[in-house]
Subunit: 194 residues, 2 copies
DNA sequence: CAATTCTCTTGTCATCTGTCAAGTATTCTG
DNA sequence: CAGAATACTTGACAGATGACAAGAGAATTG
């Protein structure tokens, strides 16, 4: 499956669009390749672009007390956009942790599309709402779980991350140190094999 | 300040609306009073209404392992809406933990308003985006903090909650037991006074 | 392909949180 | 206003995580 086909498949999931509309978007979509290690956005920079992952994995993190704290991992079909509409400097970094194929979109490109397809407003709103709900569900899960439960939950919901992301980055995403993640994994595998 | 005036002040904050549009919304807004202890939504029920707090405090919580886990507290000017657009049963409860004055809105009311004021779509999208960003910022904060730091942060950002909400509910919101919250508070006040 | 860097694991010890339990203070209700 | 229910604090102990350190293993790079 080449990038265009992948994008078509992803855009088709956006609810109330018909095939012609999907095709229009696919044609106008800008796709770019990025190497592992490339930084799409740094702390303090003003973000202007929106991305969707066609292939690869992007990590979002911030630096606190001199340490990198991962706050999100974006993989195939996930979108990530500037935190604020008001051009505020970013608090976090976006880093490709694999070779990536991403769609890239700007504010003006977005407005251009909206002019042609006003119904996209609905789609964008739906994406926003879905993101809220996802964030909310994850938040509830996180708050009400112990570190070990959080590990088990992530392994259940996104098992592929453990093969693709260095464990110390996953550890900070789970709110713990790499050593703790290592011990939890050992504890669980010990329990299984006894 | 009576409820109508409060609503006018709150709606005026919605960016690209002019005074006439604000007035139209204020007039059409339905306001209701709720007693402390009233449950607006229970787990398993299908949520149909959106609310905005004019006065009072609403707690959102879910039950996990037989315990109530608070996931949000909504106070003056904050909105809360169904998790999903697809009429799924709710996973959480909404409970008035003070006597409340709330604006109540339904899907059909929302559509009616959108017919009259199509530009509201923009406002709704902006609210959704703001909510995402807020949730994201809180998430980053939560992930990268220890329980004690989370307590200090909440006291800095929403100090009023500690006077209005039972501490054991705040404790579960911070991902800890009431005893731990109590100890943290003692530890900090001991340090201050030494 | 060898050396360097990065990553993961393991050990020890101090500290913090969870659990169980009891006692005090506060609020609610008849 | 008195009794009951709820909320908060404190103590002791077990278990888990954080900090520090060292070593094994894997990946990267020149």
């Amino acid at each position: 499956m080449n990038p265009k086909e992948k994008i078509r498949a992803l855009v088709s999931n956006f609810r109330p669009l018909n095939p012609e509309e999907v095709e229009l978007i696919v044609e106008k979509t800008v796709v770019k390749n990025f190497k592992k290690g490339e930084i799409l956005l740094r702390e303090g920079q003003i973000p202007t672009k929106c991305y969707m992952v066609v292939e690869g994995c992007v990590r979002e993190y911030l630096i606190k007390d001199g340490e990198e704290k991962s706050t999100a991992f974006y993989t195939e079909s996930e979108t990530f956009t500037p935190q604020s509409q008001q051009s505020k400097p970013s608090k976090h970094y976006w880093e490709c942790i694999e070779d990536c194929v991403l769609t890239v979109s700007t504010k003006s490109y977005e407005e251009e599309l909206l002019d042609i397809l006003p119904r996209l407003e609905l789609v964008f709103r739906q994406i926003a709402i879905d993101k809220i709900n996802l964030a909310k569900a994850e938040w509830s899960e996180f708050i009400s779980s112990s570190p070990e439960e959080r590990y088990l939950n992530l392994q259940k919901t996104k098992p592929y991350l453990f093969d693709r992301v260095p464990h110390h980055q996953i550890a900070s995403y789970l709110g713990m140190k790499p050593q703790s993640l290592s011990r939890i994994r050992k504890r669980i595998s010990d329990t299984k094999n006894s």
